[in-house]
């Protein structure tokens, strides 16, 4: 039962990350390939504040996510007005820097030995893990609600315009650079909050948890569900994480000698799913709600 609660809590975190990525990429067109970096700043920031400096959990999460937002803002200042591919590479590089620093700064993070233990809040309450799961659920639902409001708001409309044609939006008096920067910083802060909330889930933090596969799992979930649909993140995460990490891992009768290959099989399937969806239904399972999305083709289309 505890394991199932852990899995569901983690799935909620993934839904939250995919939802934030929906805002960044689906609405604003910013390809953030460093999701795990911002989540990791929240995770390790919370861990270090809690374990090393003795800060209580909730303030620790808030401070760590503020740090994540600030770093997001600084990175946005540097590269957000560059091409999509440059943004993608820079965010990926940032997440690699975070992962490396976690290993090298042993005095704070415990390096490869790890950092622990981070306990659930709410004192000695029984079922603390369940209560915490509900807490995450509330946060994630709030996030889904805000992003639905955003999509239908004046600001969301401006984001879509920027995604479609930034130069044109600027020529109509929109301060496109500042809008993108703030949206990026705030959503990175959100990823930091989710990271901070993951700290007590993992209890014990090791650098391996910052592997780039988290970024790609979130991307796959979003693209699969539908990057332009407000519920795409939820559906996509259910189909990937829910199906493989919860249903199959918990209930499928896999013989022990094959169990070790299961995570690899899962990632193989993610790859196949991603290829199939982009080839045959690039708008994702749910398609697009609200404004439709049209893309310029890459070079080399033989028309």
């Amino acid at each position: 039962m505890d394991y199932l609660i852990f899995s569901f809590s983690l799935m909620l975190v993934y839904i939250g990350l995919a939802q934030l990525l929906h805002i960044q990429f689906g609405l604003a067109g910013i390809p953030n390939f460093g999701v795990v970096g911002f989540w990791g700043i929240g995770l390790y920031g919370t861990g270090v504040l809690y374990v090393v400096f003795g800060v209580a959990l909730l303030p620790a999460i808030l401070i760590a996510s503020a740090l994540s937002a600030i770093i997001g803002y600084l990175l946005a200042l540097l590269v957000l007005q560059r091409s999509g591919q440059a943004i993608l590479a820079a965010t990926l590089a940032l997440s690699a820097i975070i992962a490396t620093l976690v290993v090298s700064e042993k005095d704070l993070t415990g390096g490869v030995q790890g950092l622990g233990t981070i306990k659930f809040p709410f004192g000695d309450m029984a079922n603390r893990n369940f209560v915490f799961m509900i807490f995450i659920l509330v946060v994630v639902l709030a996030l889904v609600w805000v992003s639905a409001r955003l999509r239908d708001s004046r600001m969301g409309r401006q984001l879509v315009a920027i995604r479609d044609n930034e130069e044109l939006a600027a020529s109509l008096g929109k301060n496109t650079a500042a809008t993108k920067r703030w949206v990026f910083a705030i959503t990175c802060g959100g990823m930091g909050i989710l990271g901070g909330m993951s700290a007590p889930l993992h209890q014990f933090l090791v650098p391996y948890q910052l592997a780039p596969s988290i970024t790609f799992a979130v991307w796959i979930a979003l693209v699969l569900g539908g990057k332009g649909h407000n519920l795409g993140a939820i559906v996509g995460t259910f189909v990937t994480f829910g199906l493989f990490d919860i249903l199959i891992e918990t209930y499928a009768p896999v013989p022990a000698e094959q169990a070790i290959l299961l995570p690899n099989f899962k990632l193989f399937c993610y790859g196949v799913l991603l290829v199939v969806i982009i080839m045959f239904r690039p708008i994702g399972l749910l398609g697009t709600d609200g404004p439709k999305v049209r893309q310029p083709a890459a070079k080399g289309a033989e028309t």
Binding site: L75, L78, Q81, R82, G271, V272, P282, P296, K299, G300
Partner: protein
């Protein structure tokens, strides 16, 4: 002496990177998207070498060419089966990158499902330790360096001095014009993907022979390859070579004076800095 050491170690370390960056750049230049699945060209090059060298028992040097060709063939197959249909369907540049992540996952974890996640080792030929100018190196390292530089040289010559190179540049700059002047885009693209795959494969073989052969080896260098390519400017093969050499020497130098982990942090930070100054502007 520190500088000389750094240059030498840097060149040794950069030599596989130079090849990888050149191959990656070719595809980037021709098709305008960053092909993350190129990581698997590198990985599979090393695994094909395992197949010929360890499983079939061929001499290491004999195994190089067939492994390289197999990696090239794999690259073409992936292009024909996945990337070309996707390009023809009008998939956008960012989606192409995500697609390439999917392909990369498929190949990498498919490989693990078939051969297992363990690290493997190539049977190295006899190694002798040589010394000159006070710098030590093994004969294998020197041969690798020579071979890589030779291949890089051939590749470079091919891009800037042959008909194929000219066709490729034509297609990349103005597809319609190039096709109107009789260039067959299909044949040129297949040739470029084949050459890029071969270069990646060779890069993987030498990365593998100095350490071990592992499913993540290509993935571990793809980030740096990507950054080198972008910093060099879109599709400049010349720039990619220079950037790869500089990155290698810089890494070696920083590693010699500090901890290796900091070298990575400094390098990545420097890359973000260069992107800020040089990356193509959007608005």
């Amino acid at each position: 002496m520190l500088i000389l050491d750094a240059i030498f170690i840097g060149l040794l370390e950069a030599s596989p990177l130079i090849l990888a960056a050149m191959g990656f750049t070719l595809i980037y230049y021709l098709n305008g998207f960053m092909n993350i699945a190129y990581a698997e060209s590198i990985t599979f090059g090393a695994y094909f070498a395992i197949l010929f060298n360890v499983v079939l028992g061929a001499n290491f040097y004999m195994a190089i060419v067939p492994s390289m060709l197999c990696s090239g063939a794999l690259s073409v197959a992936v292009y024909l089966l996945i990337f070309r249909p996707a390009l023809n369907r009008g998939v956008g540049p960012t989606e192409m990158i995500i697609l390439s992540v999917g392909v990369s996952f498929m190949l990498r974890y498919g490989l693990i499902l078939v051969v297992g996640p363990e690290n493997l080792f190539l049977n190295e030929p006899n190694i002798t330790y040589l010394q000159f100018l006070g710098i030590g190196a093994t004969n294998l390292q020197l041969i690798a360096l020579a071979l890589v530089l030779l291949t890089a040289g051939i590749l470079y010559w091919m891009i800037y001095n042959t008909g194929l190179g000219e066709q490729m540049r034509g297609l990349a700059n103005n597809r319609e014009l190039a096709m109107a002047s009789g260039i067959n885009p299909h044949r040129t693209s297949v040739a470029i993907w084949f050459i890029a795959g071969c270069a990646g494969g060779l890069s993987g073989i030498f990365t593998g022979v100095f350490a071990q052969v592992a499913p993540y080896m290509g993935w571990n260098v793809i980030l740096i390859t990507m950054l080198v390519t972008i910093v060099a400017g879109v599709g400049s093969v010349r720039g990619a070579v220079v950037a790869a050499v500089v990155a290698g020497i810089l890494t070696a130098f920083i590693t010699l004076v500090t901890k290796p982990l900091y070298a990575e942090v400094v390098l990545l930070t420097a890359f973000i800095g260069v992107l800020t100054i040089r990356g193509a502007r959007t608005a």
